[in-house]
C-alpha cells in the first residue's frame, strides 16, 4: 500500500517522524526514572526501595487490586447482563445510571462517603469507594460486547442440553473475556494512579506516598524510587492483562450479521435484579447526590462566591478544551499511521503512545518538575509543561476516538484528492479529517473530561495563580471545609455530565444501536 503511489510516500515519512517524536517525548518519564536511579547510585537506591515502608505499600496496593477487581468484574457483568439481555423494566434508564458515576470524580465519591460515614477508612473504605467510582469502566465495554454477541452460539449451547447458567458460564462469559480484560486493566491502572480518593479515605498507596515525599523533600530520590516501583506495578498489570487476554479469536466466522439476542425473562429473579440495580445506583449516585445537596443546603448562598468558583470554572474549562485539542493533535499522526500503514515500527510507536497513559499523574508530574527545574527552567511552572503532562496522560484517550473514525474514512478519497492536485496534507485534511470530525470531537471531549478531574499533575505543575475546580476543591477539603468545597464538586460534576453522556451514546453507537 505504501509503495502504491510515489506521491504518498512523503506524508508517510513525515507523519512517521512526527509520531516517532511524540513517542520519544512520551518515553521521557520512564527514561527519567531510570536516569535518577542511576544518579542515585545502587546503594542508596536499594536502601530506598527495599525497606519496610515500600513493603507495606506493596501489600496495600496488591490487596486493593485483588479485592477491588473481582468485585468490580462480578458487579459489572451482572449489571450489563441484566440491562442488555433481560426484560428488566427500565433497562435503558438503569444502563444510563450504571455509567453516570463516571461524571463524579473519584475524590468527590470519597468526599461524599466520608461525609456520610466519617469513620470509613483503610482497605474496606478504599475498596468500597474504588468499586463505586470505577465500575462503569468495566460496565461500558462488557455491555457493548454483550450487545454484539451472536446469539447463535448460545442457541447451539442450549440445544446441546446446557441449562441457562451453564450457557452463561460456558458460552457467554468466555466471549466477554476481551471486554473484561480491557476494562479490568483500565480500572487496575486507575487504582494505581488515584491520589485524592485514597488520601481522603486514609489508605496509603504508592501515589499518596510519592506525594507525601514530594511535599517533604520536593523531588528527592526517595520519591523517585517510589515512582520507579509504581511504574513497575503498572507494567506488571499490562503484562498480566496481555497474558489473560490470550491469542484466541472470538469473531464470528463467515458473513452476515448477528441478529439481536432475545431478552431473557427474569420471572422470579425480577425483584433481586431490580434490587441490585437500585442498590448500585443508590450507592454510586445517591450518596454523592445526597451529600452534595446537604452541604449546599447548609452552606446556603454564601458559599457561591462567583469570583472564586467562577474563576476556577473558567480556568478549568479553558485548560480542558485546550488540553483536549492539543492531545488530539498530538495523537493524530499516530492514529492515522496505525490505520493507514500498520507494521512493526508502527506497533512499537503506538505502544509508546499507550503506555504513557498508564502512568499515574504523580509520576509524570514528578519527572516534569525535576526536568524543567534542572534543565529547562524557562518551561518550569508554565502552561507548556502542564499541557505536556496532560498530553502524555491522556494520549490513549485521544487515540481511541481518532483511530476508529479514521478507519471509517476510505483511503481512496485521499488518493482521489491527490490525483485532483491536492498536496498530501491538503488531501488528508480535506477528506479523512473531515470525515473523522465526530471522532476528533469525541477524543477531545474524552481528554477534556480527564483534565477536568485531574488533580496531582495540576497541583504539582500548574503555573502560579492557576486554580482549577479540582485544586480548589482539594485545598478546601484539606482544611475540612466541606461546605465551601461543595460548589466546586458540583461544578465538576456538571462539567463531566455531558461528556459522560457522550461516552454512553458513543458506546451504543459503536455497536450500531
Amino acid at each position: 500500500m505504501i509503495a502504491a503511489k510515489g506521491r504518498s510516500r512523503v506524508p508517510y515519512l513525515v507523519v512517521t517522524i512526527v509520531a516517532a517524536f511524540v513517542s520519544l517525548v512520551s518515553l521521557v518519564p520512564l527514561g527519567f526514572i531510570a536516569w535518577i536511579s542511576v544518579q542515585t547510585g545502587w546503594e542508596t537506591a536499594t536502601k530506598l526501595i527495599f525497606r519496610g515502608r515500600v513493603g507495606e505499600l506493596l501489600v496495600n496496593t496488591a490487596l486493593l487490586e485483588l479485592c477491588t477487581l473481582p468485585i468490580t468484574i462480578a458487579m459489572s457483568v451482572a449489571l450489563a447482563w441484566l440491562t442488555e439481555r433481560t426484560d428488566l423494566p427500565g433497562a435503558r434508564l438503569w444502563s444510563m445510571l450504571a455509567v453516570a458515576p463516571l461524571a463524579v470524580p473519584a475524590f468527590v465519591h470519597s468526599y461524599a462517603w466520608i461525609s456520610l460515614v466519617p469513620g470509613l477508612h483503610g482497605l474496606t473504605g478504599g475498596v468500597l469507594v474504588s468499586v463505586l467510582a470505577y465500575f462503569p469502566f468495566l460496565y461500558l465495554p462488557v455491555a457493548a460486547q454483550l450487545r454484539r454477541l451472536d446469539p447463535a452460539i448460545e442457541d447451539a449451547a442450549a440445544s446441546l442440553g446446557l441449562n441457562p447458567w451453564q450457557v452463561f458460564f460456558r458460552a457467554v462469559l468466555p466471549q466477554l473475556r476481551l471486554a473484561i480484560c480491557g476494562g479490568s486493566l483500565l480500572v487496575g491502572l486507575h487504582l494505581l494512579a488515584e491520589y485524592g480518593l485514597y488520601v481522603m479515605i486514609r489508605f496509603d498507596t504508592f501515589s499518596t506516598a510519592i506525594v507525601d515525599q514530594f511535599q517533604s523533600a520536593f523531588n528527592g530520590p526517595a520519591a523517585n524510587m517510589l515512582a520507579g516501583v509504581l511504574v513497575s506495578c503498572c507494567l506488571l498489570l499490562l503484562v498480566i492483562e496481555a497474558v489473560a487476554r490470550g491469542g484466541e479469536r472470538y469473531a464470528r466466522v463467515g458473513s452476515g450479521a448477528a441478529r439481536p439476542a432475545d431478552k431473557r425473562r427474569l420471572g422470579r429473579m425480577l425483584v433481586p435484579a431490580l434490587a441490585l440495580n437500585a442498590a448500585t445506583a443508590a450507592l454510586a449516585i445517591g450518596v454523592p447526590f445526597v451529600t452534595l445537596t446537604r452541604w449546599l443546603y447548609i452552606g446556603g448562598g454564601d458559599i457561591w462566591r462567583i469570583d472564586l468558583v467562577g474563576g476556577a470554572f473558567g480556568q478549568t474549562v479553558l485548560l480542558a478544551i485546550a488540553g483536549g485539542m492539543l492531545a488530539t493533535i498530538a495523537a493524530a499522526p499516530m492514529a492515522w499511521l496505525s490505520v493507514r500503514a500498520p507494521g512493526r515500527l508502527q506497533r512499537v510507536l503506538e505502544a509508546c503512545h499507550y503506555y504513557v497513559g498508564s502512568l499515574p499523574g504523580v509520576v509524570v508530574a514528578l519527572a516534569l518538575v525535576t526536568i524543567t527545574v534542572r534543565l529547562v527552567l524557562p518551561l518550569y511552572q508554565t502552561f507548556a509543561t502542564l499541557f505536556l503532562a496532560y498530553i502524555m496522560l491522556f494520549l490513549p484517550r485521544a487515540m481511541v476516538g481518532l483511530r476508529t473514525s479514521i478507519a471509517q474514512a476510505p483511503v481512496e478519497l485521499e488518493r482521489a484528492a491527490m490525483a485532483l492536485g491536492r498536496t498530501p496534507f491538503q488531501a488528508v485534511r480535506q477528506t479523512t479529517m473531515r470525515l473523522a470530525a465526530p471522532g476528533i470531537a469525541a477524543s477531545t471531549a474524552l481528554v477534556a473530561l480527564g483534565i477536568t478531574n485531574e488533580l496531582t499533575a495540576t497541583l504539582m505543575l500548574s503555573p502560579t495563580g492557576v486554580e482549577t475546580l479540582a485544586t480548589k476543591f482539594w485545598s478546601l477539603t484539606s482544611e475540612i471545609d466541606y461546605v465551601a468545597a461543595a460548589p466546586y464538586a458540583v461544578m465538576m460534576v456538571l462539567l463531566s455530565l455531558p461528556l459522560t453522556f457522550l461516552l454512553y451514546v458513543q458506546s451504543r453507537r459503536a455497536t450500531g444501536q
Binding site: 515502608r53 515525599q213 511535599q215 517533604s216 528527592g220 485546550a322
Partner: protein, 328 residues
C-alpha cells in the same frame, strides 16, 4: 508541525498569565490566612499579590532547586525548618530593619534573614469522654510507651509534625529522636492533616492526637462539630511536646520586586497583619511587639515552651529520620 504550533500557542498563554503579577507569594500557610493577608494588603497598598499554595518543605526544596530563577518574591511558612533550609542555601534577602524591629528577638532568627510572622503551640488533643487529666501523658515522649499503642494519632506527612520532630531532634539529639520515631511507628495511627486527626479524636477513633492548638479553636468558633468531645492538653514544663513553632516569612534574594516584597513582610508583621491574627479565624498566635493574640487563646507567655533557636531546626535530617522509621 502540530507540536510546534502547540508550543507557540501555549507560549502566548504563558505570557498573558504572567504579566502584571505584582508579587508572587509561595504560601505554605493555611490558604485562608494567606488569602486574608493578601486581600487586605492589596486593598491598602494597591500592590497585587498572587498566591501559590503548597506545603512548607515542598516550597523550601523547590526554592532551593529554582535558585536564582525562582518566580517567588515572598515565602510564607507554617513552621521554621523550611525557612532555615532556604536560608542555608543563601537565598534570602535580609529582612528590612524596620520589619525586624516589629518582632521580638525570640520570634526570629538572630541573623535577620527571615522573621517570624505568627506562632503555634503543640498540644495533645484528647477525647475528654475517654481520658481524664491524670491519664494524660506527662511528656510527649511518653507516647512511645507500649501502653499507648494504638491510642494516638498524628499527621507525619505534614510540615507541622515534622517541625515538632525537628524540635525534638534539637532538644534530645538524634538517637533519642530515632528511637522515639520508631516507637511512634508502632503505636500511632496516621492521618493526613491535623484537622483530620482532630476529627478522628472527636469521632472516638483514637484517644488523642499530637497537633497544633488552633485547629481546636478554629472549629469551636465555627460549629464545633469536629471538636465537641475534644479537649487540649498543653504539655508545658519545656517539654518537646510544648514546642512553640514559629511561622516564618522571608523575601527572596532573587526577587525582581524586592521593594514590594519587603512592604508585604512589613505589613503582615505590623498592625494590619497581626490584627488579622487577633480578629480573624486563624487562631494562630500574634508575634508582633505588643500585639495581642485572639482572646480565645491561653496566653503564649504561660505555655512554658522549650527554648529552641528556630535557626537550628534541621529539616533534611528530620525527613531522613522519618523515612528511616518508615513514617514517610
Amino acid at each position: 508541525m502540530a507540536l510546534a504550533a502547540l508550543f507557540a500557542g501555549t507560549g502566548a498563554t504563558v505570557a498573558l498569565a504572567q504579566d502584571d503579577i505584582g508579587i508572587v507569594v509561595y504560601n505554605a500557610q493555611h490558604e485562608s490566612l494567606g488569602v486574608a493577608w493578601a486581600e487586605a494588603f492589596t486593598k491598602e497598598t494597591g500592590i497585587k499579590v498572587t498566591l501559590r499554595k503548597g506545603s512548607d518543605m515542598e516550597f523550601a526544596n523547590q526554592i532551593v532547586q529554582e535558585g536564582a530563577a525562582s518566580p517567588a518574591d515572598v515565602f510564607l511558612t507554617e513552621n521554621s525548618p523550611a525557612m532555615s533550609l532556604v536560608d542555608g542555601a543563601g537565598l534570602f534577602e535580609p529582612v528590612a530593619a524596620d520589619t525586624l524591629a516589629q518582632v521580638p528577638e525570640n520570634f526570629r532568627p538572630s541573623n535577620g534573614h527571615w522573621t517570624g510572622v505568627a506562632a503555634r503551640s503543640t498540644v495533645f488533643a484528647y477525647d475528654k469522654t475517654k481520658l481524664t487529666e491524670d491519664k494524660l501523658p506527662k511528656s510527649m515522649l511518653d507516647l512511645a510507651d507500649p501502653s499507648w499503642k494504638g491510642r494516638w494519632a498524628a499527621s507525619p506527612s505534614g510540615a507541622d509534625f515534622q517541625a515538632i520532630v525537628s524540635a525534638l531532634l534539637s532538644l534530645k539529639g538524634e538517637e533519642a529522636t530515632a528511637s522515639w520515631l520508631k516507637a511512634m511507628k508502632e503505636n500511632f495511627t496516621a492521618y493526613k492533616g491535623n484537622s483530620t486527626a482532630m476529627k478522628a479524636v472527636n469521632a472516638g477513633e483514637v484517644e488523642g492526637a499530637v497537633i497544633y492548638h488552633y485547629y481546636y479553636f478554629g472549629d469551636q468558633a465555627k460549629t464545633g462539630e469536629n471538636s465537641r468531645n475534644v479537649a487540649l492538653h498543653f504539655f508545658k514544663n519545656e517539654d518537646p511536646g510544648a514546642f512553640v513553632s514559629i511561622s516564618g516569612g522571608g523575601v527572596l534574594a532573587s526577587s525582581q520586586h524586592k521593594e514590594n516584597a519587603q512592604k508585604f513582610l512589613a505589613w503582615i508583621t505590623g498592625k494590619g497583619g497581626q490584627g488579622i491574627l487577633r480578629d480573624g479565624t486563624s487562631f494562630e498566635y500574634a508575634v508582633g511587639n505588643g500585639e495581642a493574640s485572639n482572646k480565645a487563646l491561653p496566653a503564649l507567655s504561660e505555655l512554658q515552651y522549650p527554648k529552641v533557636d528556630p535557626a537550628t531546626l534541621n529539616s533534611a535530617k528530620v525527613t531522613d529520620l522519618m523515612t528511616d522509621a518508615g513514617l514517610l
